[in-house]
Structures are given as C-alpha cells and as structure tokens.
Symmetry: C2
Subunit: 238 residues, 2 copies
DNA sequence: TCTATTTGTTAGATTTGTCTAACAGAAATA
DNA sequence: TATTTCTGTTAGACAAATCTAACAAATAGA
C-alpha cells in the first residue's frame, strides 16, 4: 500500500538519522549514544547496526565507533531534510506546537516521496517570497478572516432532503469540531441529506457513501456552500 | 520515536479503511474483496481479521461476512479523513500528481496526530474562505511570483568565508534542485561558508553542523538572504 | 447427487524489530 | 595488579505482517 522508498525501512532510516545527528555534535557515535537518543535498548542497536552495515550504509565493526558511508550519509541527510520540512510546515503553517510537530514529523518523514518533498520545499520558498501569503498565514486561521461570506452559508439543518452541498466550514468549538472532522466532515466534502431530523430525531446524511446520524445541535454547526452539487461517487474533484 | 495513535497498527488501520470503502459500495465485505483491494494474499487477510476481531473493531466469524463495529467504524472514518486531507493538501496546495499524492497519503495517514489533522482541516476552510490565498496558491509557486527581491539575494559563491546566511531559494532546474534539497539545502536553513572554492576547488559549507562540499556551479544556485545570521546550533527558529 | 470451482483457513516459514537476561571486553579505580 | 563499572554483544523470546502450499467448506454445474 505504501511507496517503498530506498529499500530501507523507516526504523533503519531513524538509526541513520540519529547517527548523523550524533556525529554532527560529538565526532564519534557509539552504540550507547544511539540507544539513548532513540530511547531504545542497546541490545536492539547492535542488530540494527548489522543490518545497516550489510546494506553498506555504515562502517561498523564490533565494539568500535560507527561511521556513515557516503550512501548512508545521503539517506540520513535526506531523511532529516524531510523531517525539517514537515516539522516546519506543521509549526509555521498549521501552528501546531513544536513537540507535537516533532512527533508527527518523525512518523511521516519516512514516507514523503521525492516529488512531494521538493514541492514542499518550493512551497516554503514561495511563502518566504510572498509577504501577502505570509501575512495571511501569520494571522492564524483558527479565526476565519472576515464574516463577509457568513450570510451566504447554509446550515445543514436548513438543507432540503435529497439535495447535496459541499461543506464550507465547521462552526463549533474544539470538541464538536474534532468529532465532526474524525467522522469525515471536512471542508470540500460533499454531503447529501438523506432524512431531515428534528428535536429528538437525528439527521441522517450521506458522506463518502456511508450514512451517518447527526443530532440536530451538531448538524447546525455544519455550514454548507449555497450552490447545489450533483450527487455522485466522485468527491474532492476540486 | 512515533506517536502510537489508537493502539492499532498502520496495517490494521488499512484493513479497517478498506472494509469501510468496500461496505460503502457493496453491502457486504468478504475476505476476497479485501485481499484484492489491498493487493495482498487472502491468507494474510484471515489473521488480520482475527486481530481486528480481538480488538473488537469488526464482527467476524469464520467463513462469514465482515462488519465494522461502532469503534471500528470510527477508526475507519478517521483514517479515511486523514487520507483525504493529506491527499488534498498534496494535490491542491502542493500541486503533486493525483497518483503520487495517493501513495504519499496512504503512507502518512496513519501517523498524523489528532491536532495536526484538525489544523489541516482548518487550513482548508481558511483557504476556501480566502480568495487571495487561493489565488496565490492556484498560480502555482514553482515560478516565483515577482523578481522584485531578486536583486537583494546573494549567491553562495559571493558569501564571505565564516559568515552565515539563511537560504532564500534554490535557483536551479529539477535535477540540481532535487540534489540540493536532499542534502538539506532548503529555504530557511542556515548555512556557513567554511571555505570558499574556485573553478576546480569545491566550496565547503556547514549545514546542520556537518560539512558539505559543493562544486562552484552548484553553489551559484543557492541564493541567500542578505542579512547576516549569527552562527549557532539552533536552526529553524523562525 | 456428484464433481469442479471458488473461497476461506490453517500450517509453517520468513523478515523486521523489539525486549530481557546473561555474558564478554575495556576502562577506571583501588 | 585485581576488581569494579561501563559498554557492547549474544542468545532466546516474542509480536506483527507477510508469504506459499495444502487443505476444507460452500457453491455451482452437470
């Protein structure tokens, strides 16, 4: 299901990156440093070093310092670059906390393809060169810009049965917001009202071909675009 | 190194998501459908179903149709939402091809944290509500907006030895660009010129605490911000 | 009803990655 | 020099995920 990147696993990429980081600050890398940095048992490091050595990514002989080969260095740097790009996107653009961003970046770095990485890098260059965009993002987007479009938006509760609209945004606090997003209610998704609800009766809507129930007070928070969409299988066509 | 999300592995999340997708179009899910959709041997599906069943995420009895439990449905939807968000970010914002975006999203969907997912959803809502931003992104950013800042940027080859600058952008074709990005030369990174080069002599620079060699014709492509940065360990402080 | 095909399961092997416990080498200290 | 401590390795176990090959159940066709 995933793109195999450099015939090397995520775990081994982590080891390479860790070795690279250690070498960046302390001239030698030992098993112990690696184990500590990665929060892993030293006994797990040895077999990992053997696997890396077999793939010619490090120079390793028993009870000796560990060095990166040319190829290992390349992968380590590339992994770290991916990590930095993801981490910066999460903090600078999305406004995620540093710690959370580190976590997410750690996990995602192994899978970002070459082309996505390049585009992400280009995005940052573009962002840096475009003060307008920068300013827009800097203001933070939790608070939507103006209320100018507010009047046109249609709450899900006002939708006619059988008709389909695109979700414009979720107008709710953190908790309900998260709940709705988890269930697939994201901007741009097409929603069809299968059966309208009432005070006690939940609304039933179709999203991604699956029926979902929504209590009235939650359905109110889902704001839709005013234009009608044709019902179809193909969402997200932009 | 990674955030464990819902005490369920990426592979099992994939199975859940696949079951969800199948149920969205065909009323029953069988082992065979799952195996086919996931490009996996049917013999691999059975043990996966057992693991999911043990975690109460599906209703499964030998040789029978497979159903999602409430909890399983929740995880399946959430995984799919993550997938959609990532895929849309990659295609709509970064301009990655649909196929590549699918691949990347498949791999990354399992690790995006709750908070990052919410912020990413908010980013799309913001984007949709902000025509200026939309327009900026729609124009595509491979071609940098104006050349107005061009004059101020300093090629790496003109940097004085020992001084540090932030990378503004890479002014090169796809090939050299990719090469430089893989090595960590991304917008915002701080670079220090350790030793200037010449026609035959490569430039030596410090990036992430590691020395790297750059032939002159490649160093020319690295454009730096004009303002001096203090040399330090802490990059990416924004 | 009996066979052939489709579908699902089991058994057994393999790879990756982790752990604990026991042991071996090296360095530091007495 | 002898002993203790630190560091690294091995052995052995385990879990997750996959595969191939062989088998079993269900369905369809004759």
């Amino acid at each position: 299901m995933s793109t195999v990147r450099s015939d090397i696993t995520g775990s081994l990429e982590d080891y390479l990156e860790t070795i690279y980081r250690i070498l960046g600050r302390s001239s030698v890398a030992r098993v112990r440093d690696i184990a500590e940095e990665m929060q892993v048992n030293p006994a797990s490091v040895t077999p990992a070093m053997k696997r890396l050595s077999a793939k010619q990514l490090i120079k390793y002989s028993k009870r000796n310092y560990i060095e990166l080969t040319e190829k290992g260095l390349f992968i380590a740097r590339r992994t770290m670059t991916r990590h930095n790009l993801l981490s910066r996107f999460l903090t600078e653009v999305l406004g995620i906390s540093r710690e959370q961003a580190e976590c997410d970046a750690c996990a995602m770095e192994h899978f970002l393809s070459e082309s996505s990485m390049e585009r992400l890098a280009a995005f940052f260059e573009f962002l840096a060169a475009s003060p307008e965009l920068q300013a827009l993002i800097d203001t933070g987007f939790g608070n939507c810009p103006e209320g100018k479009e507010e009047l046109e938006l249609l709450p899900l509760t006002d939708l006619e049965p059988g008709s389909s609209r695109r979700i414009a945004r979720i107008n709710a606090g953190q908790k309900i917001r998260g709940q709705l997003i988890d269930s697939g209610f994201i901007q741009g998704a097409i929603i069809t009202l299968t059966r309208p609800g009432g005070t006690d009766l939940p609304f039933i809507v179709d999203l991604d071909g699956y029926d979902q129930e929504l209590p009235g007070e939650i359905a109110e928070c889902v704001l839709l675009h005013p234009v009608q969409e044709q019902t179809g299988e193909d969402d997200y066509e932009k």
